[in-house]
Amino acid sequence: METNGKIKLSRRDFLKVAAGLSLTPLVEKISPEKLRGRNLGGSLPNIIILIFDALSAYHLSLYGYPRNTSPNFERFAEKATVYHNHHSPANFTTPSTASLFTSTYPWQHRAYTLKGSIRPHVVPNNIFRLLRDKYYTAAFTQNIYADKLLFQFDQYLDRHQSTDSFNFIGNSIYNILPSEEAIAGFRSFDTFLIKRRPPRGSLLMSILYDFTHLLRYRLAFRDLTDLYPIGMPGINSSYAHFTLDQVMEGVMSLLEELPAPFFSYIHLMPPHSPYRPNSHFQKMFNDGWEPLPKERHPLGDGHQVNYPGKRQTYDEFIANLDYEFGRLLDYLEDIGLLGSSYLILTSDHGEIFERGEDGHGTSFLFEPLLRVPLVISSPGQEARKDIHAQTSSVDLLPTLLHIAGLPIPGSVEGQILPFQDGNGDPERNIWALEASSNSTFGPMHEASLALIKGTQKLVYYQGYENYKDNYELYNLENDPDELVDRYTSDPRSGEMQEILDQKFREIIQPTTE
């Protein structure tokens, strides 16, 4: 692009040049031996999984939310299959992403905690290894905890893009280490020695690090204060910051470079907090609307019961994200990738702003936290389909293996999604677990377990100091807001409790694996 006679690189051009000039040690990790000899060829469609962190299906107009948060998701859905009852197996990134990668529920992979790892015996049956025979495998995530999981599969990745690749300011230290040492580096540098929240293991360098990052942010941000009046989007646990348009352009460049047929896992931070929509989207939902009020749950310990202000900003951030997704959609269509790929739009978990909690990573397993979007466009699909069967993130792996004509291992706990040669089992058990306060190896002493069966949802809270051994039953069809606990009045509660109790007895056992 020319400006006043001088050639000026757009950000997209810069990213292309940077990749071409092999500024790759700073931009991406590519294992050289994995680039050689990977001449897959074939006519399989590409697969793109696009994850938006902490995107709750409840907050999308695509699924009936009163605010118009997702017009571009709706445009995408016009030629896609929309899953209306898709659930995450957990309420925060590490266990939910691990479940997606391995098609196992959290008690199998045991990555319960924020910095947890998938148990070694589960790692081999991961989505990247299983698809690798037929696909070039690529992964990128802005979420450092998801990136840590990706390093457990690094040997199966043809391209593992660095987490800071498209950030305005990046700061992950573990990425400078060889892949084999990245997890050790992550646990020592990025989450112990030099991290944003105290206490930090480094006495003096951590302070210097704070100071330099503050300076970098102030210098980088001074030209963007009008565009981002409440601050630049960032990654909560680090000093990384980004702009949505820059990240999306980075994703466009990445996808364009991948050799077909490819399987790519793209996991972006928005709309995860901090919620920082740009000025075009700020205040767009200053409409005074609030959902049905809900009482504080016994386990809700936030300073408010409901959080209308945060909900509004979150919705505006979603709208901002939706706009950028629209640009990505147009781009993929222009370069022909949309017609030659399965594009899977989903999330790792949701977000909640009621009952005395805001955000995620709580003890709750309410629908705003568990119900996530799932929209899949298939190559050549011209009409929308709607699927209302209960589905789970553990279903993605077997579905993709089926698409690729590859065998499905016995360890897989998911099922092939309906539409892809599956009719959906109305009596199927869908599970979700929150057990982040437990040891990975020891017995579970404090946990929340949810069983979704048809239209019924039973939740069991075990071991919490203020709410020991309590069950809650909801009818998701008649009571989607989960206002009425029918545990004592519904005759089905006994049958469901029996199933849940048996499962709980199985999963609370310690493991040495």
Partner: protein, 180 residues
């Protein structure tokens, strides 16, 4: 140039004081996190993590020592280099205590709210310069004080014999892992 550098006998006590504060803090925070590490990491992984942590602590100590040596080169010898053990040791103590105040988990328990003023950079810098000038004056004025300070600093060298091998061994392991 060489005459402006502190001798090895002068560097060791100052390095020991630096290592004492850096490593002790790191160990304190490690023990704080250890229960959660034991909850989701294998013992082998914790040991590997520890090698990275102690390697970093060693490098951190060396960087701070490097800063002291740089000050000895830049500042008038009479003010700093000639009293390297006392001034360097004192500066290390001052910087470490100020750094402790920036790590709220520890100081929340201490009734020293006024000391949070050191978090303001200009106050920290001015206070440091004032105290160092004051110490220099006192060391010149009271030779006995110099003997006391040097004696204390020499006593701290015991920590070098503990932390330095720990740091070097960890560095060796980390380099082995990275190279091979």
């Amino acid at each position: 140039m060489k005459s402006k550098l502190p001798t090895r006998q002068e560097v060791l006590p100052v390095f020991s004081i630096i290592m004492f504060f850096v490593f002790t803090w790191t160990l304190y925070v490690m023990f704080y996190y250890l229960p959660s590490w034991l909850g989701d990491m294998y013992t082998r992984d914790i040991l590997i993590l520890s090698t990275y942590v102690f390697t970093f602590a060693l490098l951190e100590s060396l960087i701070v020592l490097g800063g002291m040596v740089l000050l000895a080169l830049l500042l008038p010898a009479r003010f700093f280099k000639d009293k390297f053990v006392a001034q360097g040791g004192f500066l290390a103590v001052l910087a470490s205590l100020a750094a402790y105040l920036k790590h709220p988990k520890l100081v929340d328990a201490l009734p020293l709210r006024l000391l949070y003023l050191v978090q303001i950079p200009i106050i920290a810098l001015a206070g440091t310069i004032f105290l160092m000038v004051l110490l220099s004056f006192l060391l010149d004025r009271f030779p006995g004080l110099t003997r006391v300070v040097n004696s204390f600093a020499q006593g701290m060298t015991i920590f070098a014999y503990i932390y330095l091998p720990l740091g070097l061994l960890s560095l060796f392991v980390v380099l082995l892992r990275i190279i091979f």
